[in-house]
C-alpha cells in the first residue's frame, strides 16, 4: 500500500514537472528557430570589419 502511494506521488511529481517545463522548452525552441539565424557575427579581414550572420 505504502509503495503504491509512493509510486503515485512520483508519477504526479514527474507529470507536474514535465508539463510545467513544456512551455519553457517550447520557448527555447522558438528562440533557436528565429534568432540564431540573425545573430550578429563580426569578422575582421584585412582592414575591414564584416557585419555577418552567425550562420554565414
Amino acid at each position: 500500500m505504502k509503495i503504491k502511494i509512493k509510486v503515485n506521488k512520483f508519477r504526479r511529481n514527474f507529470l507536474k514537472t514535465f508539463f510545467s517545463s513544456l512551455p519553457i522548452l517550447f520557448l527555447m525552441k522558438f528562440d533557436l528557430f528565429f534568432f540564431k539565424h540573425n545573430k550578429l557575427k563580426l569578422k575582421k579581414n584585412k582592414n575591414f570589419i564584416w557585419y555577418l550572420n552567425s550562420d554565414d
Binding site: N45, W50, L52
Partner: protein, 469 residues
C-alpha cells in the same frame, strides 16, 4: 557683352553689380535679365584657366589638411563650375531646419535650377526602412562659361568684365557707396545701387574681412565673418555586396533603377536616434572587375556559407560589389574659420589662412550609419557590409576630398551668429548681398551647387522686388 577690362565703360545704367562669374553670379544675372534689369558682372580672372590667376587663390591651411586652396577652386569666367563634379540634388528638407528659410522657399526655383544645370528634374527617393532611403542624384555636365559665353556676349542687359579684381567695398551709414576694383593695374570705383558678392566659399569671406579692415565702421565687428566654415568629408567608409534581386524584391516598384551608382541616405529618424549628422553612401558607378573579385574572395574567406550561396549569382549580375564611399555632413563650428594672413597678393589684398579641424561627429556618423546599414543588409538578406577598421574603432577618417567650401558668411536671424539675413543681405547694410555656399547654415550631405543656384535665383527676385515693387 563681354569686355576684357573696366576701361572706358559708362556704368551709370547698371543698378546691380555682381562680383564673381561662377554659378551664383551668372544665375542671378540671367534671372535679372529676364526681368529686364541690367547688371554688371565683374570677374577677377580671365576667360580661361591661367596659373597666374590661380596664384591669387593661394592660402594656408592650419590643422587638418585639405586640397590646396589654389587648385580646389578656379579664378576664371565660370568659376569653379569649370572643374566641378556635376552631382546635383536639392538639400534634404531636414537639413534646412536650422536655416532661416524653409525648403518650400527654395523648391519654388527647383525646376528652373534643373534647366540651368541641364539635368532631369527628377530626384526620386524610395524608403528602404525607417532609417534609410534609396536616393537619386542627377549629373550635370554644365560648365557655366561654356554654356553662357555666347548668351552673355549677345546680351544687352548683362555686361561681363573680365580681369578685374574686387578689392573691397566702401560705405557709410549702413550703405555701400562703391566697390574698389583693380583693372589693368588701375584702381577704379564701381558705383551702383545693389552690390552682390558672389566669389565663392572662401573668397567671399576674404573680401568681406578685407572690407572690414579697410573701413571698420562699415562692417560690424560683431558679425562672425569667416567663421562656421564647413566642408563635406568624402571618405572610403567600407566595402560590401548588395544583392540587387533581394533589394528589388523589398522595394518592389519603388526600386530606383537608373544609370548610376546605388545611393542610400540617412533619414531624419536615423539622425535623431543615433544622434549623428546626415550622410549618404554611394556604391560603385562602374563595375570594377578587380574590386569585384577581391570582395567575392573576401566574403568567401570571412563567410564561406554565404559566399557559396551567392557565388552562382556573380555571373547573373544580380550582385553589386564595391567600395562604399560616403558624403558626410560636417557641423558648423566657430573655430573652423577663415582669417586674413599677413602675406598679401599682388594687389595688396591679404591671402587667407583657413583653420580647419575635421569633426568627430562626422566620424561617428560614418560608423553608426554603416553599422545600421550593415545590420539591415544581413537581417533582411540584402547583402553584407564591411566597415573600415579605423572608422569602426572611431580613430580617424581620411578625407578623399571634394571641394565644397561652405559657410563663412552664414545666413541667420541673429546678428552675432550670422552675417546675412534670409534674403542674403548683410545685416545692417542696406545694399550689400552675399551669394553662394558661404551663406549656408548647415552643409547637409548633398553637393552644394543645386542649392547655390536656387539661392541665386531667389536673390534675383528679392533685388527685383526692391527695385520695382
Amino acid at each position: 557683352m563681354i569686355l576684357k577690362n573696366l576701361d572706358n565703360i559708362n556704368l551709370d545704367n547698371f543698378p546691380v553689380a555682381i562680383f564673381g562669374s561662377g554659378p551664383a553670379g551668372i544665375t542671378t544675372a540671367l534671372e535679372l535679365e529676364k526681368k529686364n534689369i541690367k547688371c554688371l558682372i565683374i570677374e577677377a580672372g580671365g576667360e580661361n584657366y591661367s596659373e597666374i590667376s590661380q596664384e591669387f587663390y593661394k592660402g594656408k591651411i592650419i590643422g587638418d589638411q585639405i586640397t590646396d586652396l589654389s587648385s580646389s577652386r578656379l579664378r576664371q569666367f565660370g568659376g569653379t563650375s569649370g572643374h566641378w563634379g556635376g552631382w546635383s540634388k536639392p538639400m534634404a528638407k531636414y537639413n534646412l531646419e536650422l536655416w532661416p528659410l524653409k525648403a518650400k522657399d527654395l523648391n519654388t526655383y527647383s525646376t528652373r535650377t534643373s534647366e540651368i544645370l541641364n539635368i532631369n528634374h527628377q530626384f526620386r527617393k524610395s524608403s528602404l526602412n525607417g532609417f534609410f532611403n534609396q536616393i537619386e542624384f542627377q549629373y550635370s555636365k554644365v560648365r557655366f562659361a561654356d554654356k553662357y559665353k555666347n548668351y552673355i556676349k549677345n546680351s544687352n542687359n548683362i555686361l561681363l568684365v573680365l580681369n578685374t579684381q574686387l578689392s573691397h567695398f566702401v560705405g557709410h551709414n549702413n550703405n555701400t557707396e562703391y566697390a574698389v576694383c583693380i583693372s589693368n593695374d588701375v584702381i577704379k570705383e564701381v558705383r551702383t545701387k545693389y552690390f552682390i558678392l558672389a566669389c565663392g566659399g572662401i573668397e567671399n569671406s576674404r573680401l568681406l574681412l578685407w572690407t572690414r579692415d579697410k573701413n571698420q565702421e562699415f562692417i560690424d565687428n560683431d558679425l562672425p565673418v569667416g567663421k562656421y566654415w564647413m566642408n563635406h568629408p568624402w571618405i572610403l567608409g567600407g566595402a560590401g555586396i548588395i544583392n540587387k534581386k533581394n533589394l528589388k524584391k523589398k522595394l518592389g516598384n519603388n526600386f530606383l533603377e537608373y544609370d548610376g551608382p546605388l545611393h542610400f541616405a540617412a533619414k531624419k529618424e536615423l539622425v535623431n536616434k543615433k544622434k549623428i549628422l546626415s550622410a549618404a553612401m554611394y556604391m560603385n558607378a562602374k563595375e570594377d572587375t578587380k574590386i569585384y573579385k577581391e570582395i567575392i574572395k573576401d566574403i568567401l574567406c570571412v563567410a564561406p556559407e554565404y559566399g557559396k550561396k551567392i557565388a552562382n549569382m556573380v555571373f547573373k549580375k544580380s550582385l553589386k560589389c564595391g567600395n562604399i564611399f560616403m558624403n558626410l555632413e560636417e557641423n558648423p563650428n566657430e573655430n573652423n574659420k577663415i582669417v586674413l594672413d599677413k602675406e598679401k597678393d599682388k594687389f595688396g589684398i591679404p591671402l587667407v589662412k583657413l583653420f580647419y579641424k575635421k569633426a568627430q561627429d562626422s566620424l561617428r556618423t560614418a560608423k553608426f550609419f554603416l553599422e545600421e546599414f550593415g545590420n539591415l543588409c544581413r537581417t533582411e538578406d540584402l547583402g553584407r557590409i564591411a566597415i573600415k577598421d579605423n572608422i569602426y574603432n572611431l580613430e580617424e577618417f581620411k578625407n578623399i576630398d571634394v571641394h565644397h567650401h561652405m559657410g563663412g558668411t552664414r545666413m541667420g536671424i541673429e546678428k552675432f551668429k550670422s552675417v546675412v539675413n534670409k534674403d542674403l543681405k548683410v545685416h545692417d547694410i542696406n545694399n550689400l548681398y552675399i551669394s553662394g555656399s558661404s551663406s549656408f547654415v548647415t552643409s547637409g550631405y548633398t553637393n552644394p551647387t543645386f542649392t547655390i543656384v536656387q539661392l541665386a535665383m531667389r536673390l534675383a527676385e528679392k533685388i527685383n522686388e526692391r527695385l520695382y515693387v
